[in-house]
């Protein structure tokens, strides 16, 4: 695929899943968001400000920074809690993967819908473990905090590389690159998907879709 993919892997306790996921997703999005663009007449624009917020975790010894946008936070929280629920249904020690995909829209002519072409995918693999007693939980609490700190540094390193980013759009194209629906911040277009290990194999519908696409492309 013509897109970068980065994989992060974490091992956490069931109650830490939500916070760990929020920490990582918010960290990535913090670096993939910009202030709102204000376009001027002559084809120039200025960029608004982005506020940041420190969030302390309850179940992990960890503090992370996120964009202070309630709307953005709400969207991510919804996705993460869905993921957490799906994970808890499968049983105590599940495995799952949540992925954050940044994409660009490409306008197509009439018979086809707009293509969404991803350019960067972050996959976070989650291993849920069960701990026996309180002491282990305490140790886990610290260890996961440390691990998350490493991951955050990892993320920042990756983002600091000079690699492909969509070019800054003109006013008419801004919707193809950025998510402009939020009023206080403007992240790159993203979507969050998740998989639980049981369904990690290709499902029937994706197979069918691929089959049709492949026969068309032959």
């Amino acid at each position: 695929m013509n897109c970068r993919s980065e994989v992060l892997e974490v091992t956490v306790e069931a109650r830490q899943v939500e916070e760990a996921m929020l920490a990582l997703l918010h960290t990535i999005l913090l670096h993939r968001s910009s202030g709102k663009f204000h376009y001027k007449k002559e084809g120039t624009y200025s960029i608004g400000t982005v506020g940041t917020l420190d969030i302390d975790c309850d179940f992990i010894d960890f503090t992370f920074v996120r964009v202070s946008s309630e709307e953005l936070d709400r969207g991510i929280r919804r996705a993460v809690s869905e993921f957490k629920d799906a994970l808890s249904i499968t049983g105590s020690d599940g495995m799952g993967q949540i992925s954050l995909e940044f994409y660009q829209k490409k306008k197509s002519r009439w018979p086809f819908s707009d293509e969404c072409i991803p350019w960067e995918v972050w996959s976070i693999k989650v291993n849920v473990v069960n701990l026996a007693n309180e002491q282990e939980r305490q140790i886990c609490r610290e260890k996961v905090g440390e691990k998350l700190g490493e991951k955050v540094i990892n993320v920042v390193e990756v983002i600091n590389r000079h690699e492909y980013l969509p070019k800054m759009p003109t006013q008419s194209e801004v919707d193809n690159v950025f998510d402009t629906s939020l009023k206080d911040v403007q992240p790159y277009l993203y979507k969050i998907t998740y998989q639980i290990t049981d369904t990690l194999g290709t499902s029937v519908s994706t197979t069918m879709r691929r089959l049709i696409k492949d026969t068309l492309a032959l």
């Binding site: 695929m1 693999k125 068309l216």
Partner: protein
């Protein structure tokens, strides 16, 4: 207070047009997307289309597809019409029509009226069934066609807007030129987002991803395409239908090994559950085989109809065309280099066509010739009489069966004539074979020096078959394909799983590719093919027939701009220098490999001047009277390649000039001496050469490649002649177990070595101790191989190659299966428990799962 009137004044309302509070903000200018060619989602498909489009152009593509659709409609419609709407009694004049005005029967008389016709169709359930099936198929094709048109329209605008090539100059452009432009485009638009710059190899990898796998699998004799039939002996069966099924199973069908076009499914990259995966693959093959079996009648009917409509007319017009030959599908796979595009392969093979058919014609049996001459004589006399009578009075034609017998006699004579050799032809197979080799670049070792033997001819005919045989094979393909799938391919499922795991590498910016296609001498080189000492590959990892080395040379020569990794560069430049030196006739006394007992002439001189010593020995022993004539003819045939030596020098200097102007690489030193004077020819610029120059260059490139191929084969022969004694001993050993068929060509010699992926050139690929690289593990595995071949008893021995956990090209490539390439030749039952032990335990604490090593 004095009022100074200065020129300094307060600027009025300078910030009035910006909202308050934003005065200090930076202003940005959006770059915008100048074109929408940045960041293309499916580059594989995109490059494939570009290369396909280049050959055809939009209009041809459109017309071709439309006609294909129309043809399909026509075939079905016409068949139904012939079956239901024609009154054959009238045509055959068994029934008379009473016309009022004239007695002539016209064609429309034979047609049934529309209502009768439609009633007949409606009553016939089978016809309805066929019509429905073909209707669905046609609709599917129609949708595909519309989709394709849209895609190619995109490609067209890419050519015009991004590559800046107009449609009028496209037919005359070479692929190298288009490719150079794509590489340029990448710098500007970033069509691939992983890297700043695309290399030629990346583009080839993407276009040929699956084809490289197929070539490698044929090279390692993994695909069941060679069979030993009870009466026919050794034969090859590889048709389009079979190929389609292979691709369906491996690459894109539902549940195939590949997740999408660019990556293998992760579970196939780990060795852990290979047995389970093999089971799954086997059952999938079974299902696909059954599906093939069920669809067999439909496909069969279609094949027959299609063959009938497309070939009958041709056969009637020129019956000789059936006696003509073509490169078989298997041949195209066997002869293909890694990273060779379709058009490159086809032009190469077409150049060898004439020599190849000449070679095959050498072998007409004298008995057959005598018979054919006489049959032709009798048939000819009958025909002459009939024609003479017809000329005298054309009423003869209306006598029953006269017209048909004239036609039949004509066919008969043409067929006979194809068995009568040209009077002026001389028997010089060795030289002809060498000319063929110059173009096809590959041949099994045992052909050299045995060109006059029937076995060689038979094996060559597997690559170069009769057109008639090709059509016949296509016709029976629907029946045979499911049998092959169910009974042959299914048994190989474990080997296939192992193959894909061991020979898949993930290249940044390209995805998963066949590791053979990296053309890395170190990983896949063959010690008997000049890479001795450089290669670290075990026998399982070596590409047979010098595929890696020849492919590398081919790619480097056709893409002079390509910058290979360091070691590879060294290999190429060494080889080029050697060839160059010998071609210019420099003294070759420093040559390390000319130590054998042959005369001290340089190899190239050997090649150009006349038959090699070995060949002439055979000539003199078998056909003394022909030898002299044969050699001169052969030499002239070789000279017909093109004025070799002169063009070779020119090409060398041209490419050197390019290199020198484009990049400063170490390679240019080798030819810099002659490169300076030719710099004017290539007109300075490296990427944007004139069309003429690039055409000329590609022509020289093919000649240069021919020389290199010949040279490498010659060197290989000299090298292996040193170990002749061992070689013959070995062959005798293995001959004991089999009959007189040459052991090189057995695909499954006996049940013991069923899982031993024998190459058809196996015995000669066992290197002698002198040729073995220093790697100790390679030695151990080769000696094991010899033991096995001699004893035939060790069916449960497992060969594990050396642990070459090496980083490939420039450290960017990572072997997906790290550690031991497992299960290469292992027996299922034995291997299973061991693998579970030896598997590297995958730690979940790892930041990166094992299949995604990111080194770059």
């Amino acid at each position: 207070m004095a009022h100074f009137d200065t020129e300094y004044q307060r600027l009025e309302a300078s910030y009035s047009d910006s909202p308050p509070g934003e005065e200090n903000l930076l202003m940005h200018v959006p770059e915008g997307a100048k074109s929408h060619w940045h960041h293309i989602e499916n580059l594989d498909l995109f490059f494939q289309r570009i290369s396909f489009y280049m050959k055809n152009g939009f209009t041809c593509m459109l017309l071709g597809e439309i006609f294909e659709l129309v043809q399909l409609l026509f075939v079905v419609g016409f068949t139904v019409f012939l079956a239901n709407c024609v009154d054959y009694d009238i045509l055959f004049a068994n029934k008379f029509v009473n016309h009022t005005d004239s007695s002539k029967v016209t064609l429309p008389d034979a047609f049934l009226p529309v209502d009768v016709c439609s009633a007949r169709i409606r009553d016939n359930a089978f016809v309805i069934f066929v019509l429905i099936i073909s209707g669905v198929f046609w609709l599917h094709r129609l949708v595909k066609f519309l989709y394709n048109v849209c895609c190619y329209w995109e490609i067209r605008s890419f050519y015009i807007n991004a590559l800046k090539m107009t449609m009028s100059e496209l037919p005359y452009a070479t692929w190298q030129e288009v490719q150079a432009r794509i590489v340029e485009i990448q710098k500007e638009h970033q069509i691939c987002i992983h890297k700043k710059e695309l290399t030629e190899l990346d583009i080839y990898h993407r276009i040929l991803r699956f084809k490289n796998y197929m070539v490698a699998m044929v090279n390692k004799s993994l695909l069941p395409v060679r069979f030993r039939l009870p009466t026919l002996g050794e034969s090859v069966f590889y048709t389009r239908g079979l190929k389609y099924n292979f691709e369906l199973i491996f690459f894109w069908g539902p549940g195939s090994l590949f997740e999408n076009e660019w990556s293998l499914k992760p579970e196939y990259k780990r060795g852990g559950n290979r047995l389970e995966l093999a089971d799954r693959l086997a059952s999938r093959i079974l299902w696909i085989g059954i599906a093939n079996l069920l669809l067999c009648p439909v496909i069969l009917v279609w094949q027959i109809l299609y063959a009938f409509f497309s070939y009958t007319e041709v056969i009637k017009r020129e019956p000789g065309s059936l006696g003509a030959r073509c490169w078989s599908l298997y041949g195209r796979c066997y002869l293909r280099h890694f990273n060779e595009l379709d058009h490159e392969l086809m032009s190469r093979l077409s150049k060898g066509y004439k020599a190849a058919s000449k070679y095959m014609n050498c072998f007409l049996s004298p008995l057959l010739t005598v018979v054919a001459k006489n049959v032709a004589f009798f048939a000819g006399s009958l025909l002459a009489v009939l024609i003479a009578l017809t000329i005298y009075d054309e009423d003869v034609l209306s006598v029953e069966h006269v017209l048909s017998s004239i036609t039949l006699l004509g066919v008969c004579i043409t067929v006979c004539r194809s068995f009568i050799p040209d009077k002026h032809m001389v028997f010089c197979p060795e030289q002809l074979l060498r000319v063929i080799l110059a173009h096809i670049h590959y041949m099994p070792d045992h052909w050299q020096g045995n060109a006059h033997r029937y076995e060689t001819r038979d094996q060559f005919s597997q690559l170069f078959q009769y057109k008639a045989v090709f059509i016949l094979e296509e016709l029976i393909s629907p029946v045979v394909t499911p049998i092959i799938l169910i009974f042959c391919l299914r048994r190989k499922s474990l080997e296939i799983i192992d193959f894909f795991r061991n020979f898949t590498v993930e290249v940044v910016g390209v995805g998963d590719t066949c590791s053979f296609a990296q053309m890395d001498i170190r990983q896949h080189g063959h010690p008997a093919w000049m890479s001795a000492g450089k290669t670290e590959a075990s026998i399982y990892q070596q590409a047979e027939d010098g595929k890696t080395e020849l492919s590398l040379m081919h790619f480097a020569i056709t893409n002079p701009q390509w910058q290979p990794p360091q070691e590879t560069t060294q290999f190429i430049s060494q080889l080029k220098e050697r060839v160059h030196r010998e071609a210019t006739g420099a003294a070759s006394d420093t040559h390390p490999l000319s130590l054998s007992e042959s005369e001290p002439r340089s190899l190239i001189a050997n090649l150009l001047a006349g038959p090699s010593t070995l060949a002439s020995v055979h000539f003199s022993s078998s056909l003394t009277n022909h030898a002299a004539a044969g050699s001169s003819d052969g030499a002239s045939a070789l000279r017909s390649l093109s004025p070799i030596s002169s063009s070779f020098h020119l090409r060398g200097s041209l490419s050197a000039a390019n290199r020198a102007s484009g990049h400063t690489s170490t390679m240019s030193k080798a030819m810099a001496g002659s490169g300076t004077d030719a710099r004017t020819v290539s007109s300075g610029s490296s990427a944007w050469e004139g069309q003429l120059t690039s055409l000329v260059l590609s022509e020289y490139a093919s000649t240069e490649m021919s020389i290199h191929a010949l040279y490498m084969h010659e060197l290989h022969k000299q090298q292996s002649r040193g170990e002749l004694s061992r070689h013959t001993w070995h062959r005798q050993e293995s001959d004991e177990s089999s009959d007189s068929v040459p052991d090189e060509v057995r695909s499954e010699p006996n049940p013991h070595s069923r899982h031993f992926p024998r190459s058809h050139t196996f015995p000669t690929t066992v290197p002698s101790p002198s040729a073995i690289p220093t790697s100790s593990s390679a030695i151990s595995s080769t000696t094991l191989g010899q033991e096995r071949a001699s004893s035939h008893s060790s069916s449960q021995r497992r060969y594990s190659g050396p642990t070459t956990d090496s980083f490939g090209v420039g450290g960017k490539v990572v072997r997906s299966a790290r550690g031991v390439p497992m299960g290469g030749w292992a027996e299922e039952g034995q291997a299973a428990p061991r693998h579970h032990e030896t598997l590297p335990e995958e730690s979940s604490e790892d930041d990166m799962p094992p299949q995604i090593h990111k080194i770059a």
